[in-house]
Symmetry: C2
Subunit: 586 residues, 2 copies
């Protein structure tokens, strides 16, 4: 037996007991003739001690130990003279009688502690050592706890966890598929699922009623900052339900998670329409941890001879409360912030509402006290506040103002990191017009149902049709989204036409789903949560990479085992494939 | 709201209530002026009734309904006159007031009932209809229930569920990998995991202590009868444990499943060594639901002039109790059974121990009463019993006798289908000698630890070294297997040499694991269960295909959506690949 206790077990009531522990050496300190060793395992740290009066043999062994050696020790639990109240085992230490080195260790390339000296690249190359650090492993433990909590919640509601194929059919729509050549079917390929969308809808046709799966999905995209080629979804679908049922079920799941994992009750989730979210926050994933809503001052700011406003479609102001003391330098920095290419504004107008009731603005030439008074009234500003104003094309300006609002929120320290503000964004547009290809795209996906009251607009003003689609947003992060699905073949066919599919194309890509729908499809709706994102939100970290055990870098490489890699000519031949090396740039 | 109750909800105490149900029409019967409809959903069947006095409009609607239409009905719960005690809802019926057709349905290509008229191919093509059948869906519900029970058990023991990469490094050893071309790394490929073996060992190096995952694995093999290219494993690994700890933990898991799912306590699992299993059952996965053990009669059957026995390495008898009345025809059929190429015996000897104490055998020419008496004593045979004897090369004969034993067991109805006999098979040989390639192969995998007491045999008689490897066998089916791993770099290097790896090969394939081991690997051991197999055992069915929602056929095709399929030239170009069509046979 390697251990009677873990390194996190021992307490004051164990004093006098014999114990056997196994683990890794965190550190060794010598103090006078005494040696102290911190022994670490997943469960904690325990202090070992070797007295100067210990047998020579034992002391010799101790002298040969090093950092990260794996050892097994046997000894008696003693009360510590200097207790460490920060450690759960801080009341005790082990007086070592025997020690056995189970494995030696080379010196790790970085220190195994919370504030490691290892850089990002090194930590990824030696991920198995990085994962030894509590701060990293705890994220994975959290992930495991969240997964089981999610499963138990959905299981209690009679959801059937059903595995759908990983080797599936390639569908050209949407992002790029990863493909898998089939040796047994020469020249043919499977695709890895971008989501089990089609299969979960088939399961509804099959009468499964409630389906869920925590499932790996795959997208062969050029990886942006925080994307992974493989990611994990909580994927769900329900039959004989309306939007309201889905929102309630998954609000219930999310609240249960907050309760079980973080001991928080975020209360009922507010709901906001897409249109309102854009008008008030300039974003379909608003961070509602602080107010500072948008104020549309287009009507009252136009026609005073300020050309930039006069030709603008939209003029929007936010009220940075109590920020009238912003210096010229700070205001210039804000202007530069919104002018960065990532934000893209042309400039920024400010209005200081001075404590004495006067105004000072960057557009004093064009607007008098009464004008600025009107604006400030619209923004519910009081003396001491600062108005920040952007203008231009409506949608672009909303997006720019969203960035400015978040930046000001950070600067004024309005964003409470310990606060969780979930909300539902609903009534998304069904379709997005793409100027480049001159066609509509499905904003969610082609199976999303329009709102019944908007169906007649499909013929006259498709761009105005709202969908029964919804997103769960927490702290400005899109955690999940879903929709009520079309379950009527005729409406689905119409959608495909609107999306520019010929009948043949629709048939080639979705024919078997449409066939299935002919045999009695129930009304159904679903949702998918980004599990990696949800865990990172709960962990209080920004990157999903830190909640994935073995993530890939931004060229899709696993730097630890150097995947992907070349395969043998024999393997290629068996797959009826030939690699065509890309042309070198001259 | 689509429903107030499901089709499995209503009971006698609901009588008089208003109810709204939604579901599929299972069947429609007309009886006099009455119409009876069985409405089906996942939860059950409820009888709907329309009286002859119902409004014409309602009766017209009813007249237009057909099988598998999706309808919503509203009405009052009535007590049935003819109660159906076989149906949970059999006490009541719904007097329909309103009916709405949610979706029509084309006539399904086969009947949606337990004893369907649909053939295998048709059922797979329309799998979404096949899954509507209770018998099929129940298997998937069972699968879901087993998965959550497994997770809760392991979670309660502090196992961390950790997802390992699906896009990993290709490793040429073992079965063929499915590969995934990387667009971002031209000419390079990921591989889909045959198992997360390396990653779970890395997680032990990382100090995760206890890992599990219910995970999809992939093998690009020519598919035999009951294999799937993607299958699901319960994959586990533990640190600071010995073989005994693993067996106890997973015996606990299995017993918990039997208790929770089938309300059975199979008791403590017997353990048998590989050597004993081969000697007693001729198999490393013995079906112990019936006895009929092997009796080695080599010593007492040789040297009497029967050439076949005299030159045999091994002569083995089984005692088919009470089968002395087997006819000549039955015995001939048995002989033919063992002579089939799948079994491969050259012939079979029988000895009838007649009720009057005399013997009648197929080798009376060579053996007298005393000889046969000795054999029967060895086999603990009594008058009325039948001995069946095979001879030849030891290993082959054991395998043949195993088949004969199972066949006789079936013929004599000794195999109780409701019985579950789990057992552990332990002490597997570490290595298998392959005559063809003239080298040793790892019987389990190259990371399996030899038994400490056998380590010195590695140099002198590698074939005799036993491994700390174990299989869980239930009713003759291998449910899972695992081993204590090597955690010492020097011993691992020796294993690689024994397995014929050059240092370079070992480094190329397992270098990063060996590197990891240098930084303090703990002693660890693990196991993996075949989840599909386990579910099918619990479901009492033979094929794993029936416990998979969307299985593939034996050429790896999904006949429902016709995957795999060709991809566009553009896609191929992006992946730097060219398809080389196989040469047509002339």
């Amino acid at each position: 037996m390697y251990r009677t206790h873990t390194c996190g077990d021992l307490r004051i009531h164990h004093i006098g007991n014999d114990t056997t522990l196994s683990g890794w050496i965190q550190r060794i300190r010598k103090l006078g003739g005494m040696t102290f060793i911190d022994l670490r395992d997943r469960y904690g740290l325990t202090q070992l001690v070797v007295d100067e009066k210990a047998p020579t043999e034992l002391k010799t062994k101790i002298g040969e130990l090093g950092r990260e050696f794996v050892i097994q020790v046997n000894g008696k639990v003693l009360e510590r003279q200097n207790k460490n109240p920060k450690m759960p085992t801080g009341d005790v230490e082990i007086d070592i009688k025997n020690i056995e080195v189970l494995n030696t260790a080379a010196t790790p390339p970085f220190t195994i502690q919370a504030d490691t000296d290892g850089g990002d690249e090194l930590r990824m190359k030696y991920r198995y050592l990085d994962l030894r650090r509590d701060v990293v492993r705890n994220n994975l433990v959290l992930r495991s706890k969240m997964a089981i909590a999610i499963r138990n919640y959905l299981d209690s509601l009679d959801f059937i966890e059903t595995e759908t194929p990983v080797l599936m059919k390639s569908t050209p729509e949407g992002a790029r598929d990863f493909v898998v050549p089939s040796r047994m079917n020469p020249g043919e390929f499977y695709a890895l699922p971008q989501s089990p969308q089609v299969f979960k809808q088939l399961l509804m046709v099959a009468g499964f009623d409630k389906y869920y799966q925590i499932v790996k999905c795959f997208r062969d995209e050029d990886l942006r900052a925080d994307r992974q080629p493989e990611f994990t979804q909580i994927d769900c679908e329900m039959s004989f339900v309306e939007q309201e049922d889905v929102l309630n079920t998954f609000e219930g799941l999310t609240r249960q998670l907050f309760k079980e994992i973080k001991n928080i009750d975020p209360g009922e989730f507010p709901r906001i329409s897409y249109a309102d979210a854009m008008d008030k926050y300039g974003s379909d994933k608003p961070d509602t941890r602080f107010e500072m809503l948008f104020n549309d001052i287009t009507e009252i700011a136009k026609g005073k001879g300020f050309a930039i406003f006069d030709k603008a479609e939209y003029i929007v102001a936010i009220n940075a409360k109590g920020a009238t003391n912003y210096s010229r330098k700070q205001l210039d920095a804000l202007t530069n912030y919104v002018k960065r290419p990532q934000v893209g504004a042309k400039g920024m107008v400010y209005v200081k509402y001075n404590e004495d009731g006067t105004f000072k603005s960057s557009v004093d030439k064009f607007f008098d006290h009464n004008d600025l008074k009107k604006w400030s009234e619209q923004c519910e500003a009081k003396p001491g506040d600062l108005l920040l104003i952007l203008s231009g094309d409506k949608f672009e300006t909303q997006e720019q103002m969203c960035e400015l609002r978040l930046e000001i929120g950070r600067q004024l320290d309005l964003i409470d990191k310990d606060k969780f503000n979930p909300l539902w964004v609903t009534d998304f547009p069904l379709l997005e017009w793409d100027e480049e290809t001159h066609r509509f795209y499905a904003m969610h996906h082609p199976f999303t149902s329009p709102k019944p009251e908007d169906i007649e607009l499909l013929d006259t003003a498709p761009g105005k049709v709202r969908a029964n689609a919804y997103d769960l947003v927490i702290n400005g992060v899109e955690i999940g989204g879903g929709s009520v699905r079309i379950f009527d073949s005729a409406l689905q066919a119409k959608m495909f036409r609107l999306l520019g599919f010929t009948e043949e194309q629709a048939d080639a890509q979705f024919g078997f789903l449409m066939d299935a729908f002919k045999y009695g499809a129930p009304p159904h709706a679903g949702i998918a949560f980004g599990f990696d994102r949800l865990v990172s939100l709960f962990a209080g970290i920004n990157s999903i990479r830190d909640v994935i055990a073995f993530p890939k870098n931004n060229t899709g490489r696993d730097v630890m085992n150097d995947a992907p890699s070349t395969i043998s000519d024999e393997q290629l031949k068996e797959l009826y494939l030939k690699v065509v090396q890309p042309e070198k740039k001259q």
